[in-house]
Structures are given as structure tokens and as C-alpha cells.
Symmetry: D2
Subunit: 138 residues, 4 copies
């Protein structure tokens, strides 16, 4: 049994996701850009469980955008794999946060990432982080 | 709580999936081709719970391919929506099966589909359906 | 040499697109839902050459949505293939148009599709077709 | 007029690609992971013009895989944009190469990336770079 939006850890968030046909490429493994989808699902569900919803942000003209990513592709995932996406808050700035994320399969780390995310308004200008996000870094 | 691979119904299969950023387009709704991903996840997990795994089929040089689809896009899904993908077996031929599938949100049908799927070998030639698939139609 | 947006035919539109890694799945062929991307690129560039731009429509709160699709997957495409997407207008209604589309490779038809598309406003209500689109059906 | 596979520069490669519906998300801009698709198309077509084809590599059981990426998302792209993907070889190791890549729109850099790519065999073991790739670094 798995909760659809994963679950909060002491410090961070875990989400289980399946590898489907759509995620693979003709090399037989997961297409490298698809790992960014899994990472984004992890971040979205982390926010969701903190009470921050993309749709409500959008109603205020706000959206999270990725500013910087550093990615190590350590080992490949394959069709049918169950992936664990782990997100850990690293540091917070005035207008952005940095998360450490990894994708694991059966206890083995496949992808390691450091991701800098900002909240911006419709004009692309930085917006203030929601209090629920700030609180994670206290 | 949701089982990762959904669950078998009396006749068919149900799977709950979340709409993420990746599924939407700039119209604000889910990109039409993404519904086919959700349908495919439903079919894959239906097969999985019947004991048929893509990876094992691949080891024998076999893969399921979609031959024909008829799709009605009735209403749009949006970010954060929880979608229910329902798959019901309709009929079976010598080398293909036809499924009725739908994508629902809060009891409302968003997409209705009829999907013809065949099992093929590496040369694209039709292969015999696994017994577990045939049994569904009995 | 290829024009980025394809070119208008006597009655319809042709667009050449490459199959990349992203389009394939672990079966070694193009993932079935990706053909819908190619078809949509064909429709978008057809509209573009008729002078109808998604961004300008969006500024008026309008967007094209797919209402119905019937798809035959006749033969698979593979990595590196050059695909020709052919779009032909079939009929026009008050609030929708129907196109015949195909995806070909080296003169062979891989996918045949009939696609019903509507123009809708932000509330999902049908909007009047641009004159440039209507003119195609005269 | 644009060549389908872009063109070789004195040192590197340029490719023009369109932003379609599929590339955008509900924020109205291009989904961040899609930029990796554009970068990969650039690398693939660079290899293609050097005479290295994914399909031929695959016939020998070889495939390029991304090992490491560092990405700066500087400004967003939107629907209908024409993107220029620029790939420049940076350095070559025994079993990997590093490229500098950028995605530009109307002369403005939207994404800057450093990408480490390796050639691996079916077991994931590093394979020797094709001579045509090595020659680029001379």
C-alpha cells in the first residue's frame, strides 16, 4: 500500500513511483530527462503534504520554476521498476530554496540531484516563499 | 491509501494517478496525448496484477503494441487532479484484445477510449496471448 | 533542406520531423502516444502557415482542443527515422473541424488518423473558427 | 529554410527547433525537463552530421548515456518560439566527452548546460568513443 502523495519524513519527503513504458527509451532504460519528471513529482507532492498546491499558487499568479540543477546519473532504471524519490531541504534564500533529491531503486541510488527552485509571479519576478515552505527550513 | 498498481475489479481494473506539471500544457489543462500515458499505465498495471510483466515478455522478445484507438475527449483534467483509470476487457481475437478504458475525475468521465492491443515478436509478427490474459475474457 | 514549419500543399500541409531518443520506448520503436505529438506539430504548423498562431489565440483566451481521435497504428517508426506528417482538411462544422492526418516514412504509411478539433474559450465553451481556417474548407 | 539535422560550425553544431504545445506546461512556459529533450536533439544531430548514428551504435550493442548535467535555467521559452540549440565540444576523456550546450531564442540565452556523456555497451560498461567523435576534439 502506498499513499498517492508519498509521505513526510522527519526532514524531507519520500514518494514511490512506477516506471512505465512512457519513461523508457530504445536503449531499454529510462530516458534521462524522465528522471526530472520523477524529481518534480517528488517536489510537488512534498509541497502538497506541506499544504502548498500548484493550482492555488496559480490562482495568485505564482508558479515554482527550476533555476539550477546538478544531476548525477549513477545507474539506470528499467521498465516495471519501483522508484523511491527522496527530497530533502538543504537551504533557503530570500527568493529560492535548494533541495537535495535522489531516485533510488531497491536501496540503490540511481540519480543524485541538487535542485534550486524559485517562486515567481506572472512577469517572472521572484515572489516570497509560502510560510509552510519556510517553516521546513527552521 | 492507494495500491501502487491499482486493483482488480470483478471484471477489469482501476488505477488512481495524479496529474503533475509534466502532464499539463500552456492551455492550463492536460495535454491530449498525456491521456494515452494514463491509459497505458492502466493497461500495464492491469496486466501486472494478472501476473504478466513487460520485462519478462521482453526477455522472450515479445511486446504489446497498440493497433487501434478511438478516443473521446469529453472534459479536461487539470494540475493536482486525481484521475481514476478504468480498464474493462471487451473482446479477444486470435492475436489481439480490445479494451474499453475511461479516465474519470470525481466520478465524471473525462476521456472514453476503445483500445485494440496486440502482442508481437521482435519482427512485429503477432504472438499468442498469455493464458492469464485469455482467462480474463472467459 | 526543410522549412521549419513544413509547407502548404494544394489542399493540406506537409511537415518533416525526425524521430529522436525521446520518442522511442524500450520496445525499440516509437512510443504510441508520441505519434500524437507529431500529429499535433503537423496541425500547429498547418495553422501557422495559414497565419493562425497559438500564442495570439491564447491572448484572446482561446485554444484549440482535440475532441475526438481515431487512430490506426499500421507500422512502427524507429530512432533516426524522418517522418512526413500529412494533414488534410476533411470537413468543418460550426465549432469544430475534422482533419485526416497520416504519418509516413519513406512513402509508407505508419499511422492513419482522423482528428476532430474545436476552438474553445477559457471556460471551455466553443468559439468561432478563425476565418483563415474556414477558408481552407472552401 | 533550415536543415533538418542543423549544421556543423567551425567548432560545434547548431540546430533550430520549434516549441510546440507538448513542450509547454500550465505555467504557460516550457516545462523544464523538455529543455533536456532539445539538448539531446542537438547532441544527436551533431553526432549524425559527424557520421555517428544511434541505430548503428545500437546494432553493435552500444548507446550514449548522460552521466552528469549541470543546468542553468536563465529565462523561459514559450509556445511558437524558435530555439537555437548550440553544442560545443569541451573535453574528451577515455570513456566520456563533455559538451557545453545552450538553448537560445532571438540571440538570448535561455538555458546553459554542461553535459557529460559516455558510450556504454549492453552491460553498461564504458566503450571506446567512435573515431569521428574523438576527431572533433583534435
Amino acid at each position: 500500500m502506498t499513499e498517492l502523495a508519498g509521505h513526510l519524513m522527519d526532514k524531507g519527503h519520500e514518494l514511490v513511483q512506477r516506471v512505465y513504458f512512457e519513461d523508457t527509451d530504445f536503449s531499454g532504460r529510462v530516458y534521462h530527462a524522465r528522471y526530472l519528471h520523477f524529481l518534480e513529482r517528488g517536489r510537488s507532492d512534498y509541497l502538497r503534504l506541506l499544504g502548498v498546491h500548484h493550482r492555488e499558487l496559480a490562482d495568485e499568479g505564482l508558479a515554482f520554476v527550476v533555476r539550477h540543477m546538478e544531476l548525477d546519473f549513477l545507474a539506470p532504471a528499467a521498465i516495471d521498476d519501483e522508484l523511491m524519490i527522496v527530497s530533502t531541504p538543504l537551504r533557503i534564500g530570500n527568493a529560492s530554496i535548494v533541495l537535495e533529491q535522489s531516485i533510488q531503486c531497491e536501496g540503490r541510488r540511481l540519480v543524485a540531484a541538487e535542485v534550486k527552485v524559485a517562486l515567481v509571479d506572472g512577469a517572472g519576478k521572484p515572489a516570497r516563499m509560502p510560510a509552510a515552505v519556510k517553516a521546513v527550513f527552521d
